[in-house]
Amino acid sequence: MADIALKTKINQKSWFKSERGFLIFIAVMLAFPFVLNLITGTGLNEGITKFWQGQFIIFFIMAVFAMSYDLLIGYGGILSFGHAASFGGGAYTFALLMKHWAPNFIKNTPIVIGNTDITMIVVLLIVLLAVFLVSILIGLMFAVTSIRLKGTYFAMLTLALSTALYIIIKSTDLHQWTGADEGLHGVPLPVWLNPTQNRLTVYLISLAFLVLSYFLMKRFVSSPTGHIVIANRENEDRMRMIGYNPVTFRTIVFVFASIFAGLAGALYSIWNMSATPTMMSVVTTVNALIMVIIGGMGTLIGPIFGAAISQVIQQFFYTWFGARWPLVFGLLFIFIVMFVPYGIVGTYRMHAFNLRRLRERLYKPFSRKDESPEEEKTSG
């Protein structure tokens, strides 16, 4: 977490230079399906290419979810164990509306401009707006509980709240709507958005979602409001004394994180074409927590790394260790928490300065030969 503070230094690097890593990542991800297609020779929508697109879609969505969780716990210092409520809330809102409301709406009120039928687009926009609103409501609900409770008590209450939602969504009384234990399956989607028929579209949408979320969150944490949120984590009493209301800014970060989590949930239910109770359970929160810890709390790139690693691990560990893979993963996780407590990106940033010094020291013998004073100046 320590690195955030250092980053408040006025950024003199150009935007392209400071975002170089992420821009390369975007380019690689954009090229990936086509390159894999060239290598394997199979079509874009079949075989290995299709399989890996699917893996990457999950990675993109989970990365956004993990980033939004990191906004809460890493930047805001709010230990909430109920973040899956937003994720599942988004997924269920999307699936419920698409399944129970959209078909009738499409049948009864076709919207046509010129010769093109835009009913589907309007429906999707309305549903996404609903997801947006539900996420805001869930965020507010958690923020309200944080007004009086602190620390462990607050964490426990968020856990209880999200579990309550999980139980409601699982209850058999709501079977005809939510499908209870089995969840909602077979969410009707237009052909162009169907991940089995048109995986590339979903792949590109998920990638765009990740890119957009990353830049929005990045702007948020470097805005005046974001800085207040970070300072709130450090010292709430002092914030109050210099004239900020911590509750206001906690609410803002809650709602902000909740919106991204909700949209990620909706996208996940597009990818699965279903919404299941697991998406709302503590397991989902803990998964995101693991991703954040592996990648590094208080960084935005970190959770992306964490999501990628946990996705890869899940994939390969299953083939290597069979059903016992969580045990191995658990041991690995303990190892990470003990020896790399700041996560990959956090640890890297903490040592980046020392690495630079080391590099300079290694290069120095070569530049010493000139013995020119300017050389000394630039390297020092």
Partner: protein
């Protein structure tokens, strides 16, 4: 109430269970004055500060600021009204840089707290303000150091800087020199003096160093066991028998 009174405290009482920390205290602080509160440990000085700055609600009594009753106003709103406070136990943002610590305080009362998607660097007025305050408190050149890596003396200066950056009309100094060595004290006094006199502010100062209190304050209030023992100019206080008894007599009396 007269016009030149900035803060008035009326029959203020704070009880923690059976212990009455502040016992029906009434006092007035005049505009542009340097008002010192002294007293032995446990006299209720910091509790009185907490009541004026709104950290805790009083059990009884009222607090007025500029003639307005602020007894039930939250600390953050008091900050907006113009009350700033520094802490006896250093209370800063340890994992943020010095500049960010002060910049946040400068930003607090501005109108840009809800700009979600614009970079902080765009709001140069706060950065300039912070740089100015950092120079005043003598931390120039240390802007990019993390606050937790500062020395104790520097942390005390930062503590003052955070308060000053809010530009309050009333500055509450809670033992600004706590834990500092004697060599560092004059520098800190100079900072306090400069801020209060040059910018025409009002200050209430809790302090243990008598030499410092005597030299810079206009009015001194002596507290003992939650009550006001005496009030007057430094000269009057120095010659007050009761005060001497509280500070010297009792102590030696107990020892004897």
């Amino acid at each position: 109430m007269t016009d030149n009174v900035l803060v008035e405290v009326e029959n203020l009482r704070k009880a923690f269970g059976g212990l009455i920390a502040v016992y029906d205290v009434s006092m007035q602080v005049k505009v542009h004055s340097m008002h010192a509160i002294i007293g032995p440990n446990g006299a209720g000085k910091t509790t009185l500060f907490n009541l004026i700055s709104g950290v805790m609600p009083p059990t009884n009594g009222k607090v007025f600021f500029k003639g307005q009753d602020i007894t039930n106003v939250s600390p953050q709103k008091r900050a907006h009204l113009g009350i700033g406070r520094s802490y006896q136990i250093t209370n800063i943002f340890p994992n943020l840089t010095v500049l960010e610590n002060v910049r946040l305080a400068a930003q607090a009362l501005g109108k840009d707290n809800f700009k979600f998607f614009q970079p902080v660097e765009k709001f140069t007025q706060y950065i300039e303000k912070a740089e100015e305050v950092i120079t005043i408190v003598g931390l120039a050149g240390r802007e990019w150091v993390l606050a937790r890596n500062l020395s104790h003396g520097e942390k005390r200066k930062l503590e003052l800087g955070i308060m000053i950056a809010c530009d309050p009309e009333l500055l509450l100094f809670d033992e600004p020199t706590a834990g500092m060595s004697s060599e560092q004290v004059p520098e800190l006094i100079e900072i306090i003096h400069q801020v209060v006199r040059r910018y025409d502010r009002t200050a209430i100062l809790v302090e243990h160093r008598m030499d410092m209190v005597m030299s810079i304050s206009d009015v001194i209030t002596v507290m003992n066991q939650g009550r006001i023992l005496a009030e007057g100019s430094p000269h009057e206080i120095a010659n007050n028998d009761q005060v001497q008894a509280a500070y010297l007599g009792d102590l030696y009396g107990e020892l004897a």
